[in-house]
């Protein structure tokens, strides 16, 4: 008797500690980033980093301004969301509500495949196909600009938004839809007045996760945004080259002398990225809980 109980408890405790490892890993990454990043502020003013407007890490004196990189990430992410949210939600609505089962079964694997394409392939496609088209269409300085980056990131965020929104919409209880139709609403009215508002928490969560994906993307933006570290104006900045935080770390990590200010500055940028992703996920969670639809 005692033996069986004991074994059960051991198994439970082991599984618990294994899952606890994920928390530990996250904690360790956090410590690693912040400890090296904060070493920058021994020699460099904090306000100069956070509000600095130029990023010249190799000139004397060093200038480590976060603003061009932060706004670069921001403008590309906003563009990506503007592109992918309407498309994604529309596709999700179609797949879950209006498509016949055969068509839906046909479309879903393609969405999954889109998610599985490596980001460097997207970057290559953007560089070779999309950038020249963008340059000719808008008569730009160069096709490598924020708008090309936004479109590629939008395509990459699309599967996330479609899958999660589609799940959310399908899990709206059938009773609601039937009730709405029974009261005389058309199918479309039911969708946009009853089903989608009921699925709002899941859809918002999918958008937040899409944002998280877009902010963290490195390879694609590095190949396609032109990597020009200037603060983008709004709205004309969308047609100019920009540099994201992620691309900065990827481009410059190779050369830095270990322990130099530049090294710490890159860690500080990484810490900022970590904080932003953390906040985005936290917000997604809170939204999901707040807007969760209850039948009662």
């Amino acid at each position: 008797m005692l033996n069986r109980n004991y074994r059960e408890k051991i198994i439970e405790a082991t599984l618990f500690s294994v899952s606890a490892i994920t928390v530990v890993i996250l904690l360790l990454i956090c410590i690693f980033l912040f400890s090296d990043g904060s070493l920058l502020f021994e020699d460099y003013p904090f306000a100069g980093f956070v509000f600095g407007e130029s990023w010249f890490p190799t000139s004397y004196p060093h200038q480590f301004g976060l603003l061009p990189l932060f706004f670069g990430s921001l403008i590309v992410t906003v563009g990506a969301i503007a592109f992918s949210v309407p498309l994604g939600i529309a596709s999700a609505i179609y797949i879950s509500e209006m498509a016949s089962p055969k068509v839906a079964d046909f479309l879903k694997p393609f969405v999954e495949i889109l998610a599985g394409v490596p980001s460097v392939v997207y970057g290559f496609f953007g560089l070779v196909v999309l950038a020249p088209i963008a340059q000719q269409t808008f008569d730009l300085l160069t096709g490598q600009s924020a708008i090309t980056g936004s479109i590629m990131l939008g395509i990459m965020a699309l599967p996330t938004i479609i899958s999660i929104s589609e799940d959310a919409i399908s899990s709206v209880p059938g009773a609601l839809k039937e009730g709405s139709l029974a009261l005389g609403a058309t199918k479309w009215q039911t969708i946009y007045r009853v089903t989608v508002p009921a699925a709002l928490s899941g859809i918002s969560a999918s958008v937040m996760l899409g944002i998280g994906r877009a902010i963290g993307e490195t390879m694609t933006v590095m190949m396609v945004t032109g990597n020009s570290a200037v603060i983008p104006g709004f709205p004309e900045g969308i047609l100019m080259p920009v540099r994201t935080m992620t691309a900065t770390i990827a481009l410059e990590m190779g050369e830095v002398a270990q322990g130099s200010n530049h090294f710490h500055a890159l860690f500080a940028v990484g810490s900022v990225l970590f904080i932003i992703t953390f906040l985005v996920n936290l917000t997604a969670d809170m939204i999901k809980r707040k807007y969760r639809f209850r039948m009662d």
């Binding site: 618990f16 000139s59 190949m223 002398a257 270990q258």
Partner: protein
Amino acid sequence: MANLKTYVVLTVLVMGLVFLGIGCTDTDSGEETAPAEEAPADEADEAVSESIDIRGSDTVLPLAQAEAEAFMAQNPDKDISVTGGGSGVGIAALLEGEIDIADASREMKDSEREAAAEKGIEPVEHVVAYDGISVIVHPDNPLDELTYEQLNQIYGGEISNWADVGGEDMDIAVISRDSTSGTYEYFKEEILGDEGEYRADKITQGSNGAIVSEVAQNPKAIGYIGVAYLADSVKAVSVDAGDGAQYPSKENIEGGVYPLARPLLMYTNGEPTGLAKEFIDFIGSEEGQEIVLEVGYFPAP
């Protein structure tokens, strides 16, 4: 309550193990154990099937690859692996003891030499070839030559329109390499001087190839690449450093009249031994220097 206690104990145990792990991989003790482990492994490696790792400049890369292929064709039991990444990457790896030879298209900086001294590494410089940096524009661009002064103003930010240097009335898309590149550093020193800095809104590309493909399809673009990467899809302009405009041709670079020419270097830790020495001697031999010409660089005198 008994359950809660078990969970707490086990979580503390896991965290304790993790921090124990961190303690054991403390950098100082790590470095002490690692070389001790590596030394016997290296000797075993060299005894059995000699192999060396070369990493660094993207400019030297095609040369190193061609030489390695020729060398390995003659010595099938030896293995040379060559990677790019930029001069900065190669030198950093040499300082960490990760590779045998670092390719560089620029000299080691003072800060890198200091770091090497701290780690007990003695970098020895070998000149393996000479390279030209070519300034390229789109084939439809009417300009054929540019002076150092004009390049300084374009890359430094003073001039932003092709009309100001004699071209058509359109904005200049100024393209540069990223800061890990030796080509980036060399161009900066030559054209912008010690105190100069690239313009903030330059477009940064991670490789010579990327610059070529952008300039080839963007009529507004200007960029700089190693001469080995010149292709028919772009146009090289003649550069005037004060003695007349010189085209980056083989004769001009070998003859020393083309201003943007620099030595290509390989750095080793101390005087090279074993396979590294054989390889560097091979590059310096007649056969090796012929390969230099084939790749598109110019022989070391």
